[in-house]
Symmetry: C2
Subunit: 414 residues, 2 copies
Amino acid sequence: MININTDHLKQINPFEFTQSLSTAVRKFKDVHSNLPMFRLQENLKKVLAYGHLAEKTKERFTDIVLLGTGGSSLGAQVLCKLSRLEDDIRIHFFDNIDPLTFKHFWEKSRLETTLFLVISKSGTTPETLTQAIIAIARVESVVGKNRISDHFIVVTEPKSSPLKKLADRYGFMCIDHDQGIGGRFSALSLVGLLPAMLMSVPVDRVISGAQTLYTEFLLNPETHPITESVGLMHQTAQTLNLTQTVFMTYVDQLEPLGRWFRQLWAESLGKNGKGTTPINATGTVDQHSQLQLYLDGPKDKLFTLITHPLNWVGDQVSTEISHAIGFEDMSGRTMGDLMQAEQSATIQVLKNNTRPTRIIEITEVSPEVVGALMMQLILETLLTADVMSVNCFDQPAVEQGKILARKYLEKSIG
Amino acid sequence: MININTDHLKQINPFEFTQSLSTAVRKFKDVHSNLPMFRLQENLKKVLAYGHLAEKTKERFTDIVLLGTGGSSLGAQVLCKLSRLEDDIRIHFFDNIDPLTFKHFWEKSRLETTLFLVISKSGTTPETLTQAIIAIARVESVVGKNRISDHFIVVTEPKSSPLKKLADRYGFMCIDHDQGIGGRFSALSLVGLLPAMLMSVPVDRVISGAQTLYTEFLLNPETHPITESVGLMHQTAQTLNLTQTVFMTYVDQLEPLGRWFRQLWAESLGKNGKGTTPINATGTVDQHSQLQLYLDGPKDKLFTLITHPLNWVGDQVSTEISHAIGFEDMSGRTMGDLMQAEQSATIQVLKNNTRPTRIIEITEVSPEVVGALMMQLILETLLTADVMSVNCFDQPAVEQGKILARKYLEKSIG
């Protein structure tokens, strides 16, 4: 399903099962493996208990709006790309607080048939609360006070908070955010799975893929390719003084995976002056934007490319036309053939230019594979944190900005 | 209209008008200022000559599809965000070659009322040619052979190329791409302006903003804030060994500006082992994703934030509700107030954590301001290239990948 190809990293430095990696693996077995985020079957059950909502949503709504940001939104963005509903129900992710975007949305929206999912672990996220209060007023003006509660579902921790109070005040359905699962680690829990289920994504298959990989890893973590990969990437970064880790996907469906990974890696590892910068890139788009820098700029980046076979996929290029215009390369080939050739070419030129490159080869973009990919990236991040000796689970610096923003708001009232 | 605030950089190191900066400015005056990309009025005229197309497009089409990648697409993506057409005409930017995305598009599209803009400077870009040939077949199957030519406009250099031949074969309208303007510098020429004009963006106002800034700069480049900014950023990067330059916008309308800048900076400067990595970020989204790393990770980044006043913009948060739920901070405030407070807070915490921060304060997001912003970033990139002694105009490394991709395609035909 997933093959991690680290041949190029091994050419740069042979893999060593270092002391710090060994400690990280032991800590995973002894401590992290008990974390609620890895109780996948239990977490799946919690979501499936709301299966009736999926049916109701399909019948009753044309639009779902997810109000939430960071870990409350990005995991769902990845999983909802697996939806086949397309135009039957559209899902909108509002993770910014741009007044103009909201203005346009209110003008065009069909609020009678729109469901709002409001997600905030702490229940105190000011962006999400602001969005929600404003949305309530808008919905109320259209459907009337008595029917607002049909249009909102809240996901937050079961404790007193502004969001909890808001839900209580209006009688919204309020679903528990597991208190033991941090936002950026919540993609494979209810937080990521519920929106996906409402969009008819087979979440059981997502979890099945994640579970298979996790079980396999836990069976023998010392020798699992993920452990080797983490070790090699860390060694390479140390040896070559790398400051950036580029995460390049090709197909559009995986684009949000890069943005989700970006938060996971940056918030988990970026502390105490440590942490490489995660950079998400999309081939073939960024081949026409970033590849020059990647190949010929400073050698300060490690590359991970997610590839999968696309031969024979998509419309064919007419033989007659391609010959007539001097574009024989693509004669009889498909768009997928071209993407496939470009994947291989980019990997090869990265190697030719001695840029450390790791390839994650997937067989297809399926719910199982995406679930497994997310699990892999979570495991890699956790292990890397312990190898680097940073606390994977906090984000102390972000609090500074939140406190200051409150101060500025108060001042502007003053 | 635009104020460049470099106070924080000056605190780190006072500005010096170095020899290399002086040389760069002289080179700009003597050489670069003669480049066709700076003949703004002439370039505007060339676009306005196609003004009738805008009228026709509005009458006849519901959708515009731009087939093109890199510099052939990103500039238009920025400018089209200024469009007020919204749902009257939708523009789709296909810069990737994902067969699944195209499959979905063909299923849902209204090809009878869709106009395809095919843009490639060289006329040899394989992604764009492949997209175009496939689109022609799809359109032909819907509207018939005789009417295909109504649905395609090609922009390419006036010389023999596969794309030119394709246009000739079908009798498509073919508009010249200025041979003297490189793709990533073409946003303020016909390449960026034509799609914008078709989307009813007042391109004269875009050019007016760019022209005002350019004229002002050229009047006295030695003492212009842009020159000072370039010098300070380069000095800071040298002094602190910075490897990354973060470009953070807040409002959704400016999101493509970050992606456009990313190409401009990376392809122009990323060569000979030199070049900082441009990283585009969106506040407030990335405050919940990247800010932890930015504040507490390695001190290897320079920050540029684009801010503008948003006080009193957007819906208000009800005083009654905010008090009832313990969210007094936002009582009576608007969504814009919150974004404004977060802009200020993020700037302050970056400074508090001694992260070198530059602020570009704009008055509003208008065609004039966006035109001026793009001009500023182009000037900064050109000057920086000369300060760094790299050739701003080539992208030699990218060719390697193109050659290899052709080889792999041939092999797969084998």
